[in-house]
Symmetry: C2
Amino acid sequence: MSTNAPASARDEQRALLADRLARTRARMEKMGVDAAIVRSTDRFLNEYVPEDESARVWLTGFTGSMGDALVTAEEAFLFVDGRYWIQADAQVDLDLWTVVKVRLGTGLDQALIDQLVAFGQERTKKLRVGFEPDRLTPRVLDRLKEATTAASASATWKPLFPSPVEAARGSERPAPKDPEIRALDESKVGPTVPEKLVVLEGLLNACGAEALLVQRLDEIMWLTNLRGRELPHQATFKCIALATPERILVGIDPSKVPGSVRRAREGVLFMPEAELWTMVGRKAKRRRVAFDPANNTVQARGQLEKVGAQLIEVDAPLQPVRAKKSVSELRVMKAAFARADAVVEGVIAWVCAEVEKGERLTEASLAEAVEARFRESGALDLSFRVISAAGKNAAQIHYGEPNPRRVLKVGDLVLLDTGAYFEEGYATDLTRTFLVGGPKRSATDEQKRIYTLVLKAAIAGMRAVLPEGAKGVQLDALVRAPMWAEGLDYNHGTGHGVGINVHEFPPRVGPSSQTPLEIGHVFSIEPGYYKPSFGGVRIENLCTVVPGPKGFIRVEPLTFSPLDARLIDTRMLSSDEKSFLARYQRRPASPARAVKKGRTPTKRPATAKKAARRPRA
Amino acid sequence: MSTNAPASARDEQRALLADRLARTRARMEKMGVDAAIVRSTDRFLNEYVPEDESARVWLTGFTGSMGDALVTAEEAFLFVDGRYWIQADAQVDLDLWTVVKVRLGTGLDQALIDQLVAFGQERTKKLRVGFEPDRLTPRVLDRLKEATTAASASATWKPLFPSPVEAARGSERPAPKDPEIRALDESKVGPTVPEKLVVLEGLLNACGAEALLVQRLDEIMWLTNLRGRELPHQATFKCIALATPERILVGIDPSKVPGSVRRAREGVLFMPEAELWTMVGRKAKRRRVAFDPANNTVQARGQLEKVGAQLIEVDAPLQPVRAKKSVSELRVMKAAFARADAVVEGVIAWVCAEVEKGERLTEASLAEAVEARFRESGALDLSFRVISAAGKNAAQIHYGEPNPRRVLKVGDLVLLDTGAYFEEGYATDLTRTFLVGGPKRSATDEQKRIYTLVLKAAIAGMRAVLPEGAKGVQLDALVRAPMWAEGLDYNHGTGHGVGINVHEFPPRVGPSSQTPLEIGHVFSIEPGYYKPSFGGVRIENLCTVVPGPKGFIRVEPLTFSPLDARLIDTRMLSSDEKSFLARYQRRPASPARAVKKGRTPTKRPATAKKAARRPRA
């Protein structure tokens, strides 16, 4: 419950949540389970579930994007990672809930396992655990089963659909939204669906399957070249797909699909989900369907088995294909990044000027300004909530709630991490840390030292050359090395893939990333520094991989929003770093900037020209 | 057979080897096998087996350190890696043998498997494969079995002892040597045996065993603080050990052990090997013996099972302990490294002066001079054959045979890779590449560019700071990065552990090294560059890991033989690299040098002082 709410509202909210938990427990008893797992995901396995749809938010009051719950007759646990330790304590009723604060590297699933093991070992009778088959993958379910069995905490596992929480919740759900489905212009964002079907046929032949079940929404969007606006911070719509070499069957209420979309996509067939399952079963001989136990649900597996399909286990077959962006994808992504560069450059210039003039701006007003400027610039949505953290607040890696009372002062360092979606539905993601105040304001020695170290790390990544086949762990080491040399490090990965979702894998750039970096991958490089007594610095740029010298690959930056020169101690830079930086800062971050300054963007490499081209409004 | 031998001698040798192969095949038929594996190792699983003892050398004529053979009734294969492609072709009779040239990354065992699979799939009847149980580990045997089964090349596996080769060889074996066993002064090289027994007790308790079977000779030397001179390039003697928390039973003919050694080691009991097995079996209840399937032999497992021991599988329990050198081990190792530094510095100065004067020196005479100077300096043996490669010859990473006809000329780059053993029996290992000629000779631009790039890589390793728990792969990336930046790389690991053996693991520093680097590890950092049209450059130094800033570790060099300043293009170095290099080159490489120059070695860090202290002769 929000700590900002007045006391009476808080009491009311508290009573409401206590009642929901009691009703859930009553359902659990009726369903014959001792414990129930409540996942934070929905049946589309989304990263961002709308608050008003989330069963976990409804039950616990905790609104963070990630955090699973476990309920028994006497106890209730909420598992959250370091981003949400403070928020969870503030939002749940601590008389009802135990907040389990999971450390980095442990993982929520492991914490859940540990708790189940503790229960199982306490009891004399077998523990009966209920789970949501529509929200759990077979991979996770197997892991839970194996781990509890290995610890001699034997349990029986019962799929509950609807779950006790959903049963207790009944009709307390938001009305369905218009998914606002749109079809991309395939002449501008390819490959076309028929071209993708050819690739798919190869993948299916390789594993001897006739069709592939796809539940990850970004993969369905990628396959169909469709986009939607149904879910927050996503360019997707809710559906399920069965992809065959001939066509992609999309399970969705067909009335939600505009006729124009239907006409634009010949290779895509829309039908109610139930009909999709029936179609799978209709074939005379058993149909061989490729099934990915890590990216499909237990419920979907059950559906396939029910209609008599023969399941062929596969390991994320679309991921490596989707990760390598096509020429046209790179073109539209660069255009989107250039717009985002301009938004961030503009808003930082505005904040600095306003505060210098004596205007009162806060973390929250900065976040609002970012969102407004993105919308003006043609963005359809943000790709995640703006992180706007001033001074010591920036020591929180994911500072979730820009504070309307934290006023921005001259001399503050502000960490601004933002992203959006434009028409083509590819996420942008960019972090800049800047000094509040006019161009003549100067930073402290410590601010400059820290910023320049993080910058050295960022540059090491953006100009890295690696042998073909190099893995994320190797690039990660190159990025961290300048900070390690000074005994500094950051407690998060160096980078993540970016595509239709703002986080997609592969690639990963981190200390244990064993997947190779490949030409066409698009990912972030985002070294940082975080210290409670100081605050935080992060510099995040999106990059791609291009061919290097024979046998080598090269990282190339795709985002060019200018870096705050007042924070750079050039004496700490090598001559190579200095010349990289000079080239980088010369690149107009955006068409707007080039135009404003009356410069014709000449003598820049082709990629920069493309990135700088004025995008369609 | 040597290509240098006169024609008649070559014919004689050829007939001899043909006869040996025929006799081996006759034995195979009698023993009822279709194929026989001939390993290059001996029953002590050594890296370096004396040529005159090696069954594989006796059978094939090939004298390289590594290379397994596979014999059938019609065919005979020798599997060698890139180091030995040329040598194997020159030494074996190509009418009798097929030399299988195994590429880096494949592994000899995999090549053997591929060949067995090919045989198995050709045949209609099950393949009967004979193997040497005294030379194969259960781990390798399991791998052979699994891989052939997986490829549906089913085979029966028959342990043959003595092997068909040994049976055919009969008494054609060298007389046993005096192992020259010596006991180290435990006040100078600790921990003492009783201290090690305490550690051992902890390891045994952890796995619920009462004793540990140890077959790796360097581990037996480490446990007992004994050394020997029985095997080439090793400070070991042939034996087997069973370690209990009370004492270490060493299986060896006790008459070979001097009384003084026996008296010096109360915790060590010498007995004939047969008696050792009997003692294991004597206990009333079944004795639980820890057994490492990757570092013990199939034969030893059979022995333990025969005497009724209960085997507990363990994973190299002594390795991590042995890898972390004690304070006194580091002291004696540094003293040995300082002597080796001086030998290499002296011999390079001598070569350069002699050639400048017009003397005729060759790769071979350089190698001989190195060995002579090591002996003068108190070395008991070399830790491997000297690699002395001039000009283009240095493009071979392991140039095995210094050429007595390759004259060293002014302007040549020479790669000199050497190591030795002194009294305390720790290996040294050092590589320097130098320009032949007097101090005023200058190198070509290409020589300087390549040398300086390799130097940058070496410096990156020697001054690396990494987070605690960092793995070899991370250090490897930091070392290679300066070369990657120029599109260059080297096709070997960056480093290996060094201890009683010149190659020990952990640690490893390479692109797939997942074991953490720990304080007290001693290992090489040896980046290089190899190109047939140019030659080769390698700079190898031994280093250790020391505590760094809070939460970090730091690499520290232990070898200081000077780097050839004529080959360094300082314009290619950053200011940090320059100041590291200046400090590094100031350090006297050896006591001899400091004394010769009449300098008192003051103002150097404590470690350098210790390294520079004149060792006992």
